[in-house]
């Protein structure tokens, strides 16, 4: 990594907080792309904008925790030098920009649409919308050549109670030689609904970008709004947000650990983990009045204070989990037939996880020591003591173990949060908001990025980047050479968000 100041030079935009946004030249844009491709800088997000002059924004990280910059390239001719040409993790982000904004990445290796499946009445809905020409052309899946290959199309409607997406498997006998994902089925147009919305309504949309991560999205969105307005939520609100985030992490990790085992036909773990998940959701309901804690985090603070009933529920929850979970870990570790399915399955190489900047358990199971709670970090985690577990095997088993270790860390965090909970108000007045803000929050899958531009108390533009953008392509790599029957295991161990990705 390199200090970003050496690479990103340009004209600083007023009112972008807490990190700078610079309008850069095409040459600088290319230099940043080269730095990212060489591993000297990290790609955090890439999105379009047509508020004033059409532009693309790229959030990049440098060598230190706080070294983050948004580089903006104005593209009045509606093209920009492709990032994906040198840095493959940007390819889908660019395809989405082309489909949604009509801004073309020049020199891009893949010009096929993304998210736009040909069903909308308009093209480029976020840029200059034009009516779609009649007749839908077939999507060209990547070609596969070889003897005795067969294809298995799966989805969008899947067999389980899960989100929709399409997987195109090409297999040689039982072995998968290529998986290609086609996503966008749950695209709801959240960015377009955000544009012009009140902060209150936009917060509701952010909370429904990925329902399983509603708390982390709530935090990221609220912190972006607060950054734009130059305010901070009161201390008690920050602690309550973190408490909700850790409950959300616990609930999802329990669900995932059970679901991975269930996909190896080991339903006993699934049943017991399901009980733990339900206990967390009931405690969340007792504390904050909603099982998933939706709409409890708002810009300025939180809506619901923790009462004595809630505290009792939390204490009881921690006691129950600590009594039940250790024997489940033992059960997972001691069941050879289960280990036979998870160990060595769906390996993500460390280099690939690093290149894609994978966060969460996908990155941490493949050697990446990253966590938005630590880097760039946000309160109250700077006052809390916790470890970020890291493993190097990169297989399904490692992704399960990261979750197990994170459950233990989250339990300790809930203890600390209750113990140190400061008194005081739970929300602060937003005031007249105007400006731009960038924020990160660590959801159970990894880092959620939220960027917002506010004009006269209304959202002018908001971009939310789910961690799954960088996980989905790695799933295609992880299944390579595995058997078709192991795909559900690999898929569940990733548990990528469809809705958060499709927006």
């Amino acid at each position: 990594m390199q200090a970003l100041g050496d690479i990103v030079r340009g004209q600083q935009v007023d009112g972008h907080r807490p990190w700078p946004r610079l309008i850069v030249s095409t040459e600088t844009w290319r230099a940043i792309v080269r730095a990212i491709a060489a591993g000297r800088a990290g790609l955090l997000g890439l999105w379009g904008d047509t508020d004033a002059t059409p532009a693309v924004h790229m959030a990049v990280s440098g060598e230190t925790a706080d070294d983050i910059t948004v580089a903006s390239l104005e593209c009045p001719d509606r093209t920009f030098p492709s990032v994906g040409a040198l840095h493959p993790p940007a390819i889908r982000l660019e395809r989405a920009i082309a489909s949604l904004y009509g801004l073309r990445p020049a020199g891009a290796p893949d010009a096929r649409p993304w998210l736009d499946l040909g069903f909308w009445e308009v093209q480029h809905p976020l840029g200059a919308p034009t009516p779609r020409p009649q007749g839908r052309s077939a999507y060209a899946f990547l070609p596969v050549e070889g003897e005795s290959l067969h294809q298995i199309p799966v989805g969008p409607v899947h067999a389980g109670i899960i989100e929709p997406g399409h997987f195109r498997f090409t297999a040689s006998g039982e072995t998968v030689v290529r998986l290609e994902e086609r996503l966008g089925y749950v695209h709801k147009g959240i960015e377009s609904l955000m544009a012009g919305a009140s902060i209150e309504r936009a917060a509701k949309l952010a909370a429904r970008t990925s329902g399983d991560t509603t708390v982390a999205y709530g935090i990221a969105f609220a912190r972006a709004v607060e950054a734009a307005g130059g305010i901070e939520a009161p201390p008690r609100a920050r602690y309550l947000r973190a408490l909700m985030a850790e409950l959300e992490r616990l609930a999802n990790h329990f669900g995932d650990i059970g679901a991975v085992c269930n996909d190896a036909a080991f339903s006993l773990m699934h049943a017991h983990c399901g009980v733990l998940r339900e206990l967390v959701l009931r405690a969340a309901d007792a504390c904050f009045g909603h099982r998933l804690m939706m709409d409890r985090i708002v810009p300025g603070g939180v809506t619901t204070d923790l009462g004595s009933d809630g505290l009792t529920a939390l204490t009881d929850l921690l006691r129950q989990i600590r009594r039940r979970f250790p024997s489940l870990i033992e059960l997972y570790d001691d069941t050879a037939s289960l280990q036979d399915r998870t160990v060595g399955t769906g390996i993500v190489r460390a280099g690939l996880a690093q290149q894609f900047g994978a966060g969460g358990y996908v990155g941490r199971a493949s050697g990446r020591n990253v966590d938005a709670r630590k880097t760039p970090g946000y309160p109250p985690y700077d006052r809390l003591d916790f470890d970020v577990p890291v493993l190097t095997d990169g297989d399904v088993n490692a992704r399960v173990w990261i979750r197990i270790r994170e459950v233990e860390q989250s339990l300790s965090l809930v203890d600390q949060l209750i113990g140190q909970l400061p008194a005081g108000p739970i929300a602060t007045q937003l005031g007249k908001a105007r400006g731009e803000g960038l924020a990160f929050a660590e959801g159970f899958r990894g880092d959620v990025l939220a960027w917002i531009r506010i004009d006269d108390d209304r959202v002018s533009r908001c971009h939310l980047r789910d961690p799954s953008w960088f996980h989905w392509p790695l799933l295609e790599a992880a299944i390579d050479g595995n058997i078709v029957a192991d795909f559900p295991l690999c898929n569940k161990s990733f548990n990528c968000s469809y809705s958060g990705h499709d927006l």
Binding site: V157, P164, Y185, V186, I190, S192, L205, S210, T214, R291
Partner: protein, 172 residues
């Protein structure tokens, strides 16, 4: 593993007493159920879940119906992997334009007699997502709906009430 299994023999089940049927749901269903269908299916239904653009919140709560506390299968209700095996489609989401055709085809693939239950506020009318270029606006705008269960997301108990009403309506 043996210890865990033995423990479940000695401990009382976690499963809760079933809630009573939702009165509003019963009223909504009375209009849509035919007597002949009731006779043919008996008090047992196979459910196919279809996510038509939800945020995944409803899916999480539908999955919870299978956990030890709610134990949906004790009512003869079970989730199946194919619409061809289903009597009921449980549909979530505002129906994105990208999922509309898939939902219509799933509906056509489900044999008659069949019922459609729309789960959640956005399945009712598009909810917070209405007005988007990418959203059709509620399940009812695409396929006929027999029962709406509101909520964002509805709790497992609310869904259980609605589904029990569906069973009761067949029985009577």
């Amino acid at each position: 593993m043996r210890k865990t299994l033995f423990e479940s023999l000695t401990h009382a089940p976690l499963t809760e007493a079933p809630p009573s049927a939702d009165d509003r749901a019963v009223a909504e269903l009375a209009a849509s159920l035919e007597r002949s269908a009731r006779r043919r299916l008996g008090r047992s239904l196979a459910i196919r879940e279809v996510d038509a653009g939800s945020c995944n919140g409803c899916e999480l709560e539908i999955q919870a119906l299978n956990n030890a506390f709610y134990d949906l299968e004790r009512f003869g209700l079970r989730f199946v992997a194919s619409p061809r095996h289903a009597d009921v489609l449980l549909v979530t989401g505002p129906v994105t334009k990208n999922m509309r055709e898939a939902l219509e085809r799933t509906y056509r693939a489900t044999p008659d007699p069949k019922w459609v239950v729309a789960i959640g506020d956005c399945a009712a009318d598009g909810g917070v997502f209405s007005g988007s270029y990418a959203v059709s606006g509620g399940v009812g705008s695409v396929i006929p709906v027999d029962l709406h269960i509101r909520g964002c997301p509805p709790s497992p108990t609310a869904m259980l009430k609605g589904l029990i009403a569906l069973l009761d309506a067949q029985k009577s």
